[in-house]
Structures are given as C-alpha cells and as structure tokens.
Symmetry: D3
C-alpha cells in the first residue's frame, strides 16, 4: 500500500472512532450481556418448528420409539437458546438500575412460559396447515404444505413472535417476524392478532400492521396490505406511537392480490375484497368489492 493510502486510512479510522459523532448509531450493550443474534434466532425458530412439526426438519429418524427423546432434547436446547436471546432483548434498552441476577431469572421465567405455550401453538398452526391445503388446488399433501409453503413459514414465525410479545419480551419478536419477511416477502407485525385457519396464498408483498385484528378462516393473497392510513401527530410533528390504526377483518374474509385496506376499518364477516383495490372504509358482512373497470 502506498504511504498516501496508508495515511488516508489512518485518518479515516480516527474520524470513524470519534466518540462525539456517533451517539445515534453506536450501541453499547450492557456489559457482559449477549446481543440479539439473527443466527441464534434462526436456530431457535428451526428448533421450534421441529418440535411443532416433528419429522419434517433435519432428522429422518423420528419414529414412535424415539419421539420423546427428540422432543425432550429439543425443548431443552430451545430453553437454553431462548433464555439467552430473551436476556439479550431485555438488556437492549435496559434500565441501569436492574440487577443482573434479576434479568437472568426473568429470562428463564419467560422462556419457560413460552415453552408451556407450545402445545397451543401446535394446535393453532395445525389449523393453518389444514386451511392452506384445503384452499390451494395445487397442494398435494399436508406434508408438502408444511415442508415448502412460505405462508406456513411466515405464519409460524408470527405465532412464535406473537407469543413472545404477549409475554412482554422486547425487540426479539420483531426480529423473528422480519426474518420471515426476508425469506417470504410476508411482513406480519408481531403485535397483530390473528385467528385460526389463517392462510396466505403465494404471499410476496403481504403487509399486516401492528394493530390489525384478523378473525378465523381468513385468506389473503399476495401483495395485500392491511395498513395504516394516516397517523395523528404529536406536538413535535411526529406520529403518536401505539394507536389502533390498522383494519379489523372478521371471520371468513377473503382479500385478493394487491388490495390495500387502510385505517381502523372493519371488513365484515364473509366479505370478499377484489384485487388491486384500495379500501379506506368499512365493508359490510358478505359484500363483494371489486376494482372498477
């Protein structure tokens, strides 16, 4: 390297290490605490899926004789990794006056509560698999749906993340749904509330906002947005956080591809929303709304 290049690089390092300039973008994790880790969270989701859908992922040898060994060790491993990541979430914006021992204990409590919730997660996800199979003429078996449908991947991550969010775990739920967003193009905020037998066909481009509420037996197609229309601003001109601002879809609603439903509107039971349209008002139960030609 030329002396000139070497000088340029040394000067740049000084600029980049200047503590004054990086308050917004520099994070200092509580000393000795783990950072949230996308690879670890991917392992957590993989293990959770192998517990919920035994025999599909990673191990061809699951059978009647050894199922409990597999479940037993997987739950144990999940507990360890999840405790670490919950702790990472708790420490991310941690108040300074909390004690280490308290956070560790809390992380273990929350991981235990999540695991206790897993039989319920399996029940609900089973309804989603049934809905995807029944709703798609191209689906050949439950196995194909579980193994390769992106909707199942996205909904699994959402249901895991939603359970963690209900337990009060910060940050981690959003990372988990963003992982599925990256893989599937389906963006479900972990705060959304979604019923049973939920399915999404193809899925790329679907957006489901933080305060959306979805009933049972709802089906969405690719590109559907359940979004916010406009945000009330606070006195500084910034959006006020946490207000109900996304749609409510009652049971049996179908929304076709690329439709956008915006704001705290209610789509009534059994309504059908056609593709490529833009809805900002309530839709009565049983209505069919189509793009004008």
């Amino acid at each position: 390297m030329s002396a000139e290049n070497q000088y340029t690089i040394a000067e740049t390092i000084k600029l980049l290490s200047d503590k004054a300039g990086i308050k917004t973008v520099c994070h200092q994790q509580h000393e000795g605490s783990p950072l949230p880790s996308v690879p670890v969270l991917e392992e957590i989701v993989t293990i959770a899926r192998s517990i919920i859908f035994p025999g599909y992922f990673g191990n061809s040898s699951v059978n009647i004789h050894n199922l409990n060994y597999h479940i037993g060790l997987s739950v144990e491993k999940l507990f360890g990794l999840l405790t670490e990541q919950i702790l990472a979430g708790l420490c991310f914006d941690r108040e300074d006056n909390l004690e280490d021992a308290f956070c560790h204990k809390q992380a273990k409590e929350l991981a235990t509560k999540f695991i206790a919730r897993m039989p319920h997660l399996r029940e609900v996800l089973t309804t989603d698999v049934v809905a995807a199979y029944n709703g798609d003429p191209a689906a050949k078996s439950y196995g194909e749906v579980i193994f390769c449908y992106p909707a199942i991947r996205a909904i699994s991550n959402y249901r895991v993340a939603h359970a963690l969010l209900l337990l009060g775990v910060p940050l981690i739920p959003r990372i988990i749904t963003e992982m599925a967003h990256s893989e599937t193009g389906i963006d479900i905020h972990p705060g959304a509330t979604i019923g049973e037998y939920f399915t999404i066909d193809h899925g790329t481009g679907v957006v489901i906002g933080e305060t959306a509420i979805i009933g049972n037996n709802v089906k969405l197609y690719q590109g559907v947005t359940l979004g916010a229309k406009s945000f009330p601003l606070d006195e500084k001109g910034n959006p006020i956080k946490g207000i109900d601002r996304h749609p409510i879809l009652e049971d049996e609603v179908i929304v076709y591809s690329n439709a956008s439903i915006l704001g705290r509107v209610t789509i009534g039971r059994g309504a059908v929303i056609g593709g490529n349209i833009w809805i900002e008002n309530d839709v009565p139960a049983g209505a069919k709304i189509l793009q004008k030609k």
Copy 2:
C-alpha cells in the same frame, strides 16, 4: 432453573410427545430413507448452474484446458446428490408395498434422465439470458445478467424443477421453485409451461400458477400475477385439484408491473397489458390494455 420451571417444562415435553395429538403435523419418513433437504437442494442447484454457466460460480480457474475435468466431476457429484434427493421425494408419501431396491433403481434412472436433459436446459437458458440483456437498458453484459439478475436465478430454478416434474419426481420440484421464490420474490410453479427468450424485470411479487402456459419472447414486470380466478369445489366444498385454471400468454406478450391476469383466459400474440390492472377475460392479439384514469 427453579423446580417449578423444571416441572412445567417436563410436563410440556409430555404433552408435545403425545402421539395421539400429532397425526397431521408429524411426518415419519420411510425408515432409513433420506429426507428432502433444502441445503442439499441448494447445492444441487448451484452445481447445475455451474455446469450450465461454466466459469461464473465458485471457481475462477475454468479454462479451455480443464473445462472437461470441471464438467466431468460436477456431473458426477450432481448425479449422486440428485439421486439421493429424488429418492427422498419418492419416499415422502411412499406406498408401503414398494421395495427399497426398486426405489433406489428408479431414483438413479430419473437422475440420469435429468442429466441427459441438461444440454437442452443450457440452450433454453441461453435464450433467457439474451432476452434479459436485450430487454434491459441497465444491463451491461451477458456476464452481469448471469451473475446477478434475480430473473435468471428464478427461471433457472424453474427450468430445472420443471424438467424434474416432467420426469415424475414428487415434491422436490416445488421445493426448488420455492427456494427461488424466497431469494427473488418470484413464484413460478414448476408445473407451468414456459417458452424460450422469457424474461422478468425486477421480479419481486411475480406469481405464475401451476397450469399457466407462456409462449416465446414474453416479458413480465414485477408484481405480475398469472393466477386462478375461482376454483370449482368438490362435494365437500374443497377446491378440485388439477384443473386448468391459469392464463395462456401467447408469443411476444408484455405484462407491466402489478397487473393481475386471472383464470383460463388467453392473452393473444403481441398483446401489451398495462400496470396495476386486473384482467379476467381474453385479450385479442396485438391489443394494448391500460388502467383507466
């Protein structure tokens, strides 16, 4: 861990290991058989791409003197991995009365037939590269198109998957196209029929259904859906599988971004479909259909 947590976890493991409750979601692969594996299938696709487009992927040393060594070993490796994954597909929903030896032999036959098809795959994919280059003012060279255009990735996976599907391989073709769906946001069902010089610009959100038929020299933009309109139901109210229900696009058709074409309609030769619109009827050859304002 507290005794209470330990008890909760032990009880949850019992619930999750209960054989009665998991018929739908538990898979038991035929004993000793491989499971379909996404990482192995990714390796298969990578090897297939390095055979079809020599010198682009993984090895800078391909030249006139050693091309046949590279092709020779890559084909050999492809044969081994593909045989294993075809076997995994054959065993996924396998009839119990088949013999192991028969399945192994069949997997080798099918892998051989796929390899014999690869010179043809290279020919057709070459036309797709030419089409992408010619159709995009931003494309700098064939090399750039092969190396980084998502459309080439998605179409390569589709053409490999379609060839396997025509040979009767179950499950594996769909996993291969879903891999590309995840990477590119382009969802092409392996059952679709697609001609030469096919290209997709940008591509995120494109959906091409199982029974779609696409001619030569067709170009799609991002967000285009070639979907099904409604499904005839059987006596139980479930969609009937396997009916022709997706569009036919004749040669030279262009479809702009976010357009949806639904049902078994025919878009005639040379027609142009404008963006963000919704087509449920035949379009005559040469027509231009645009969004109303």
Copy 3:
C-alpha cells in the same frame, strides 16, 4: 449404476464440455484473478455496517475503551476484502492490454477512496435511521430500526454500492444492491441518486430505477415502482442503454403502496401519490393524487 446410465452420463458430459456451443454462457476470468463472490461481498457489507453502526452487529463488547481497536481492525479487514472484490470487478470484462500490476494498484486506490468516504456514509445513513424512526408509529427505538428494519438494510447496501459506482467500480455495486433486493424485496439500482432522510416502509416490491433522482425527506411504501415507461430502440431494435428514463421525486414527496411512477417525470416538492395508481406525467408540488373509485 447400470452400464446404460453410465454411457448416457458420459455422452452428456461430452456434449456439455463442447467448447463450440457455450460462448454466451461460459466465462473465463483473467487467469489468476479472483471472481466476484457473493459470500465475500456479504462479509464486506457486514463489516461496513459494523463500522457505520458500531456495537449492533457481531460483538457485544464494543465500548468507549476499545472502540478504536474495533474500528481499526475492521477498516483494515474491509480494505483487504474490498481490494480483492474491486479487482474481481475490474477483471470481469477486462481489456486484455491492461497489466496485472496496474489493476492491483487501481483496486487499492479505489478501496482507499471508498474507505475515505465512510464517515460521510455514516452521516447520511444516520439521517435515514432518524427518518424511519420518526415516520413509523411501530418503531420503539433507533436501535430497533438499525437492528431489524429491512429499509435500513436496503438503503445501507444502496449507499455503499452507489459510492462504489461513483468511483467507477464495475459489476460489484449491482451485486451489492441485488443482495439487498433478495433479502428485503427492495430493488434500488446503484445508479439512482437519493437524498438524506430517505425511508421506505415495509418495502417488499419497491423498485427504484437506474436514473431515478430522489430528494430529501422522501418516503416510499411497499410495492412502489419508480420505473421506465418505454425505451428508445436503436437500429437493431434493442433498447438504447444509459438514457435518463426514470422519475425525479423532489423533497418531501410521499408515495403510497403499489403506486407506479413511470418515465422521466417530475413529482413536485411535497406531493403525495396515493396507493395502487399509475403515474406517467409530471405532478405539481403539493398535489395529492389518489386512485379513482
């Protein structure tokens, strides 16, 4: 393997190794030069992000005492990897009359210039983080935005790639933005020009073309296309490369989901473009354009 299969495979290898047939699809990198490598470029982007946003990625131990060690070694590692990949780009379509030593020297120069640009990149990306936080009621902290918002990932890759493109590095910038396209569904061409405080909500399906120009404080929603309308053709009927053909968005513009803006049109300061619409003409400053019902 049966003798027949073995014969088929051997014959196919011969066909696939035939030099005559593979001119378009076979690449021969300049001997001894590196190939562009997606995994290496991913490492480069990861290191660049860890320098720009210290403490978020990979290492929980960054603090006031050791920040300069981390920055120092990361910059050194970045310099080495980037030099190699710039060289790979320079060699990809290299003129034969260049000397190895010249290319190596040029690669080091360009890598140094890129590193000297990093303090500026950090400043601009900080404005993007602030914009994403202020514009999203669901955002809980700057940290959450940096850690898991796909828009930050896509815009980071774009800003890195754009800086490399301005330095004249071939191929590599496009690979870097396609990496983000694959992860986020957001497709920003590295040639686009984008101001400060830029944000994209959700993002899947966004397309920003090569010659687009975007001012400060602009916000896009998912599925927005800033595309080209039609391409002037040369005498052979192919699109002419390099013509200005994408929109100009002035400061403070908002474009809602799935809107398409096509051609070299100007969207005036503060205009709001509603969702699911199709714009092919200039829009005056302050206008609000919505889908007709």
Copy 4:
C-alpha cells in the same frame, strides 16, 4: 501460467491417470458404498465416550431429569454412523459375490451387537479410571482423569475397537486405535487382550502388539514395548501372519518406562520390569528385573 508449465502439468496428469501403473495404490470401493472415514470415526468415538462418561463431553446440561434423553438420542446417532462405517469396512476388501442387501443387514446386526456391549464397556472403563486415579499422585479427581488423561483416551479407543474386532468387523478397529495412537502416542493393536484396572502413565511411545495378553491391575509407563522378537517366514521369505508372537503379562505386573518385552514370553504375576531394559525371556512371578549398571 506459462505455456511450458501448462504443458508440463497436462503431461503429468496423463502419467498420473495411467491406469496400468497404479494397481497397488489405487482403491476402487464397491460402487455406491461408503469409504471408511476418519472424521466419521472420530465422531463415533466421541459419541461413544459421551454415552460411557455422561456429562463430560460436549454438553454441560446433562442431569438426572434428562439423562435418558441424552443417552437415547446418542445411541440412535451412534447406531446410524456405526452402521455406515461397519458397512464401509465390510466393503473395503469385499468379495464380489455378496449382495448389497446382505451387507446392509449384516452391518445393522453388528452395530446392534456393539451397542448391546456398551454397558459392559462402561463397567470395564470405570475400572481403568479408578486404576489411573489410584496410581497417580498427581491425579486430583476421577473427573480430571476422564477429562484429560491420554491413557483413558487410548484405552477407550482400544476397548471400543477390540469389541468391534471380536464381532468380526474388518479394518475399522485398526483405524480407531491408530486415531488414539496419533493423539496420545500410545499404540495398542485392537487384537490385544487386556484385563480390568489397566493403566498407562504418560504413555507416549507405548506399543502393545496384536497377540499380547494382559491380565488385571497391570500398569505400564511411557515408552514400553510389548512387541514381537522375530517372525517365522513363509516359503517366499515373508512373515507368516497371525502367529502368537507378543508377550503375556499376568495380573499385577508393572513395567517401567522404555522397557521392551519381546516375543511370546510370560511375565509372571506381580513382576516388576525396570526401565530401559530389553526382555526376551520369561520372568517369574514376583521378580524385579532392573537395568544393569
């Protein structure tokens, strides 16, 4: 690379690929069969050790509640890997008239029989641990002995290998003892017969030949050889294979460092052999043989 170098390399490849010249040194494994694999055998030994000594290797979470999950899954994994490697051994010098199905079945049988032998292996290895602890004033705990004494590593590998050899598994046992030889410098042929409470101090350079017989409570020091003196030759002048040619050490014998005991001699119960000496004759029970000065 210069044209001359390229030519030299191409010619050398031809020479090295000449089938005529490589009969002795080229191995062609039965088609489709696995090769013996040192990394897989290392994994097998690691798993076997983690079953025999639970809680020491790889997993800090073994406890009363989950011991059976760990043992259950480890045995299952051991069965799979061991079956494959036994098959590799069976195929290494395989008669051509055996059928694949027969070999697979035999490999599973032998792996099962080995596993059934593991409780006994644990019992005997426990006596070796006790002997090492009692015999070494530097040993702080059983745990230290199990965790880091090379003698335990070498004797474990020997006992595993010997059990496989008694079942008739070819090749694999020798590879397993050579793995320990490489790690510890202790070379125990898997054919040797060794009693309980066996220990070796330090161990580097110890050699125990194929037909050696060692009683209970025997202790060897580093550099001890229990070897063959001379070999009867067959009519071609080559050593006759398989003749008893190594020493017998009765119970309670101690042999000090670098002593060599050669030929089918018997060292009587409780005898002590001093260091650096050379024994070619029987030694009576209770004798003490020391180097002359």
Copy 5:
C-alpha cells in the same frame, strides 16, 4: 431395522441410563455453568501465542501501524474466553456453598491477573526461542523455530498453564499441557518449575513430572523422563498425593535421548547425562554419565 434389533437397542438405552450404576463416570456440572472445552482452550492458546509472537499466526497484515489494534482486540478476546474457561474449571469440582456471583468475579480477577503476566511470559519465551535456535544446527532462523518447532509449542503451553496454576486455577492448566502432549509427544506437568533458555530437541516421549525443578539453560533430548521412582503409600495402599518426588536439574544440564532420571535427585550444574540410561541418584556438578557398554 429388525424388531429384534430395535428391542435390543431400547433395552441397552435403559441400562445405560440407569442412574444407580454411573456414579463414578457421570459428571453433573453446576447448573448453567460452562464445561471445560478443549476447542475453546485451543483458541485461547492460539490467541495467547499470537499476542506473544505477533505476526506469526493467522494474520499476515500485522505491521508497525496496526500492531496495537491487533494486540488490543486479541487481549480483549482472550479475556472473555479465559474468564469462561477459568469459571468452568472453578465449577468442575465446586463446593455447593459458593455463590454464582462470587465465582464469576473470581474468574474475571484471575483472567486479569493472567493477562498482566503476559509481558513476562513473552520475555521468558523469547529466551526459549533463542536457546532452540542456538542449540540446533538445523535451525535456519528464529522465525522457523517459532513457526514450527514442537518444543516451542510444548513450552508455550507449559508456561501459560504454569502461570494459571500459580494463580490457583484448577483443571484447566493440566488440559492445556495435555493438548501440547497430544500434539508434540512432550508431557510437561503444569506444576513443574522451569527456568529460562530452556529447550527440548525433537521432543517426542519427554516426560517432566509435577514436582520437577529445572534451572536455566537446560537442554533435553527426545524420550527423556524426569519421573518419580516410587510413591509412599497411605494407609489404604494408595499413593500419597503432592509429595516432592521428581528430579532437580541445575543450570546448564544436558540430558540425551531416552535417559530416565527418577526420584527427588539433584543433577548438578553443567552435568551431562548420556542417552538410554537410568539415573536414581544425585549426579555431581560437571559430571558426564554415559551408558555402560
């Protein structure tokens, strides 16, 4: 697998999981604590060596400009890993009444003290490198000695382990010297006391016992044992732990290959011990002891 095999394996798992039978061989680490880990300790030794001998291991880019970045981050990484492994050692045979927080604090203290000792370790190891270079006509440079002489590897591990042992760290020091024993065949107990300018030629088979004391400028050849002669037994017939029982070698002593020196004897300053002999008595300063013929 046959039903019979399956039954056999299931029964064996039960036997192997029987808690009653495995008291000696089953370890239960204090809950939540790390286990000692050979791979982590290998990383620790590698980092320590890269700090002590900068530029030799793993990174070709160390130079005057960046030395302090490398040292800074390496020390930080060493601190983290070493703290964890010291904690693992402290917990291995831990008293139940210690508190977690106390152990964590102690581990950090000890890791800090070790790091503070590293400049001294570098000084002493530099004398060992000089001694190896000066003493071996085959040595071409200090670099060759540092890079590939097994004696330097073994002595480095010993000096690191001895420093940890002096700080009171249990178990870990012995594992570190056994790692070098495995790699080099040189077995130095971490408890031994060794002066400056120490060297070992070739080294395989060297044994240096726990209570040995070695002066400055001592040279040993391969196969040398500095061992114990016999052990006083306690009332149960077991060796009494911790008694001085190994030789003292004064400054300038040379011991040739395969010599054994046993018991608490003193080899006087400048004495030369010939190869393949057996010493159980004091040797006066300046004496030359050779094997009798």
Copy 6:
C-alpha cells in the same frame, strides 16, 4: 469488569504493543504476501495423497471412467495452493530487493516442477507400502497399510517435503514434516536422504536427522534415533550449521526399538542393531549388535 481490572488490562496492552521490546518474536511478512499456513499445507498434503493413492481419501466414487477427471482437478487445485504456500515460504525471510512479480513467477515454476515429480513420488511410495505390508505380520492388505499406517503418513510427508527442499523451497518442507511428526511421533528432517522400500514399525519417537543417509530396504522400529553426537562450535560458541553429522545406514539395515545411532557413523549393509542401545561408531556389514545384559 471492575475499573481496576480494566486499568490493568489497558496497561498490559500498552506493554505488549511496545515495538521496542519485541524484535526477536515479532514477524512482519512482506506486505500483501501470504503467510505459511498449517491448515493450507494440510490440505496440500491431503490432495497430494489423494493423487498418489487414488480412491483412498475423501471420495468413494473414483473408478476407471472418472479417474482422469479426479486427477485433473486435484492437480489443478494442488498447483494453486502449492504456488501460494511456496510464495509464502519465499517471502518469509525475503530479501527486500526482490520484486513481487519475480517471486510469483518463481513460485509457479517451483510448483510446476514439484507436480512433474509426482509420478516418481508415487513409484517410490508404492515400494514403501509393499515394504510395510511384507514386514508386518499384522498387516491385512495394502489398503490397510495405505489407509491407516502412521509410517506411510510420515514417509509420504517426508517424501513430499524432501522433493520441495531439493527444489530450494524454504521453510515449507520443515512445516510439512513437523505436521507428520505431530500426528505420528515420527520426526524425519526433510533434508535426510532415504532410499526405496523404507519402513518404520509403530514409529512413535523415531528421529531421523537432517544429514542422515538411508539406503534401500531399511526398517526402523519405534523410538529409534539417527541423531548427531556433538556439534562443532563457531567462534561465538554456537553450533556450526549444515555440517554432516548424522549416520549413514546402508541397504537392508534393521534397527530395533529405542536404539540411538549418533554421529556421522556408517552402519554397513544388512547390519542389525538391537533395541535400547547407543551406537557412536561404525558397524560393519552384516553385524548384529545387541544390548549387553
């Protein structure tokens, strides 16, 4: 971490980064050049072995049809890696006035010459395999000898290293023989000269010095030293480098375990040297020398 610990560590980093104190132990590789790398050299040896003994290592699919593909690609890979490591060796103590381009060219020349030597290496190593098989009653097949005899590993590394040393490659040959020394306990200096049909039984502790000369059909047992007796000193009291100082063994010599032969003595054709003895004088042809009792 406490403030006191933090201070201690920061001060230690300063001490360790002090440039003045580390001249002997700090290496600064020529900028931009590779460092010698043990993992890369292990890969080189593995590839060389898979070329010399096709079908034994890593790949079960070598057969008559594909042998030349395997050899072709392996030689190509070997050329690349070896060129890099030869360059690393050339740069290790490089004179400053050499130009980069010259060193690169020289490295390629030397790698080519080594490859041209490989057919000869295979011929000689085949004689070593035959000798090991014929000389050991425990050997079951040539395959067992090639696959798991440590002598073949050590002699392979020696013959590869010796060929490189004859070509004038610095440093790398010694690293390669030390790798085998670590694995097998057999320490053969790459400068030694060794004839055909050479074998070593068991091998741990064997030392063969830099200027030793060994004829054809020689057999050594474990623990044998062919060493130097004393070194002429230069005026500073250091050993003079490069003088002939190790034994000559003529054809058909056998040396039994733990014998030491020291100095430039000649052991005549067919002589037999008994175990555990110490030879410092010539031995006539056909003599048998045994330990006195």
